[in-house]
């Protein structure tokens, strides 16, 4: 197989001591932030973005991959031991996981989550290896109109289908699109929305938006809600599984993977839907007289696998189309742009080393995650005793340092504060963060594609529907919108409240 050869080549490149070290650093940092509720992998990647500008792109991405998977896994620890899901994607794990822990089976719950994450992550990454190049081959042939349509699909689905309130989703989306407009027009060089301020003409750096919204916004929010009743962390020993647990876990792991990967790969990604579906499937399959409700291991194994498989799945649109579908993927895309690498269908052919090393490092990161985290689980739980003032002082320090490092100008610190206040207000009024970040990142890309299509057609708007693929995508958008509107009349949405504030 062609892809396998390339992957083995990537493994060869990734397996240098330096790269392994960055992978280990990424996994540890990712788990660190994943364990702490409120600090998601998106925030961790945003904070570390400026730090990695000194690194080679490959090493930076190896670290990001580690942070991403580590953050996904770390969320399960808090869900199980504390019943406080760190990310919206571990909400389902908390239901059965915490009940298992209360019955004294915390070690088994942690183990099935870790091993399930490992298996799902590995299978998912291998699927990316096979799907992404194939999709990229097709994607290079896609014209600007279809590309525009696909990006529109991504932002509409993420905004309208996920999330509890469509109105709030669209408010956040349009705020993001507006922020994306600030600065010089990409094709004509005219200043837009810069209020006569020449410092804004350079366009607002995505790092500052992301760090402001995620890190500063969260820090202000926590400062406003500093004191809450402490919770009890359920003590757990070193995670392990006995024969019976293995027998009950392996099928949910595989089913969770099968559910999670496609949901991550389509532009309506996010791990919330597949984890929810996986939980429902396992409960149905287990039957009435099962342990569900009192801590069934299947209810932890399935959703955790789905969670990581969908994290892997998001790499398909990211690498093949340059299309991020989660907050973390958006920030990784920004990182790519920071290195002057143009994300998109050409990425696989123009930067094969980077892509294959990244995919190989996902596999390595996954293995490191299992090796490091099984023995360290009790230690991670102790992290939760850190008083918030210490924690957020550190976060604020890194946020300001990072925002300043991007362009080395004090004005960016002012912008950081503005976006921090925006982030705080968004949390206060329950606006989801993901549509805003997607808007900031995809807005300019969409604009470029649309202007490209319109300039080829000499301003004829019908050019936007001149390709069959574009028409199909517009039909899908309309159908998806109609379904979300009408499903409301038939049943109350049952999916867990997905606010996306922590991102995934």
């Amino acid at each position: 197989m062609d892809s396998l050869d390339l992957l083995l080549g990537g493994l060869g490149d990734a397996l240098t001591p330096t790269n392994l070290m960055w992978a280990a650093v990424g996994v540890l940092l990712g788990t660190f932030v994943g364990v702490l509720p409120g600090i998601g992998p998106a925030m961790a990647v945003a904070l570390l973005l400026p730090v990695t500008f000194g690194l080679e792109p490959t090493q930076a991405f190896i670290m990001f991959a580690g942070i991403y998977y580590g953050g996904m896994y770390g969320g399960s620890t808090t869900s199980i031991l504390l019943n406080t899901p760190g990310e919206s994607s571990s909400v389902m794990t908390a239901i059965e996981g915490n009940k298992m822990a209360k019955r004294g089976r915390a070690a088994q719950a942690l183990a099935t989550a870790a091993i399930g994450s490992f298996i799902a992550g590995t299978i998912g990454t291998l699927l990316v290896v096979f799907f992404a190049p194939a999709l990229a081959d097709v994607a290079v042939k896609i014209g600007a109109p279809s590309y525009f349509a696909i990006m529109l699909l991504a932002i509409v689905l993420v905004t309208a289908v996920l999330g509890s309130s469509k109105l709030r989703g669209f408010i956040a989306l349009f705020m993001g699109l507006t922020i994306g407009l600030v600065g010089l027009d990409l094709s004509t060089g005219q200043p837009r929305l810069n209020f006569g301020q020449s410092l804004l003409a350079d366009r607002i750096d995505i790092v500052i938006v992301a760090v402001g919204i995620f890190a500063l916004g969260e820090a202000l929010w926590v400062a406003a809600h500093l004191r809450t009743s402490p919770l009890q962390v359920i003590p757990s020993g070193r995670p392990w599984l006995d024969k019976d647990d293995w027998r009950r876990s392996w099928k949910p792991w595989l089913r969770g993977t099968a559910l999670g990967f496609p949901f991550g790969a389509i532009p309506a990604g996010g791990a919330e839907t597949p984890t929810f579906l996986s939980y429902i499937v396992e409960r149905k399959l287990a039957g009435k007289d099962s342990e569900f409700g009192q801590g069934a291991i299947e209810g932890v194994a399935g959703p955790e696998a789905a969670n990581n498989a969908s994290a892997a799945g998001t790499f398909v649109p990211l690498l093949a189309l340059g299309l991020p579908v989660t907050a973390t993927a958006s920030i990784m895309l920004a990182a790519l742009q920071g290195y002057g690498i143009q994300p998109g269908p050409q990425l696989m052919s123009s930067q094969p080393d980077l892509v294959w090393t990244l995919l190989a490092s996902l596999l390595i990161g996954n293995t490191l995650l299992l090796v490091l985290n099984l023995p360290l689980a009790p230690l991670w739980a102790r992290l939760l005793r850190t008083p918030r003032p210490y924690l957020y002082a550190g976060i604020l320090f890194f946020a300001s340092l990072g925002a300043y490092t991007v362009n080395q100008r004090p004005f960016d610190l002012f912008l950081l504060l503005v976006f921090g206040l925006v982030g705080f207000a968004m949390r206060r009024f329950g606006l989801p963060v993901l549509p805003l970040i997607l808007g900031v990142i995809l807005g300019p890309l969409m604009e470029t594609k649309m202007r490209e299509a319109l300039s080829i057609s000499d301003g004829d708007v019908s050019a936007l529907v001149s390709e069959p693929l574009a028409v199909v995508v517009y039909v899908i958008i309309v159908v998806a919108l109609l379904v979300t509107v009408f499903s409301r009349f038939f049943r109350r949405p049952v999916a867990a409240d997905v606010d996306g504030t922590s991102g995934s």
Partner: protein
């Protein structure tokens, strides 16, 4: 006349409650147990959780002394204890003492020391394993 106990769910807290109960019974007064937290971390092992509270209540109920338990949250543990002490006009404060490393004291301070220095009433400092007053 009220005995106030500064409590945390560990053996030092238990020793303090044991002494507080014995003294309150001897003097015929009532007992108020204070369990305080800064509430700024996700987990505080010295803040009693529901099952630990239930255990404490059973312990208190086994004695004829009228007693109450207060859980408080605020910026400073010692200030919260002294606040309750003033509120219930306590006449004696009982605290459990533990060994602290110099580094630990430098980093986190010592609640017991603050209480000894700032309490408006006499403080009884006890350690687990000491004989109870008859």
């Amino acid at each position: 006349m009220t005995v106030v106990v500064a409590y945390a769910p560990d053996r030092y807290g238990k020793a303090a409650v044991d002494f507080g109960l014995a003294l309150a019974q001897r003097d015929g007064t009532n007992l108020v147990v204070v369990n305080a937290t800064r509430g700024d971390a996700f987990v505080d092992p010295r803040y009693a959780q529901p099952d630990q509270l239930a255990e404490l209540q059973t312990m208190l109920a086994a004695s004829p002394v009228p007693s109450a338990v207060r859980q408080t949250m605020g910026a400073d543990i010692a200030d919260q204890v002294i606040g309750v002490l003033r509120e219930v006009s306590g006449s004696l404060l009982v605290v459990g003492l533990r060994h602290r490393s110099p580094v630990g004291k430098m980093l986190m301070g010592s609640v017991a020391q603050r209480l000894l220095l700032d309490s408006p009433v006499p403080v009884l400092a006890v350690k687990p394993g000491q004989a109870l007053p008859s």
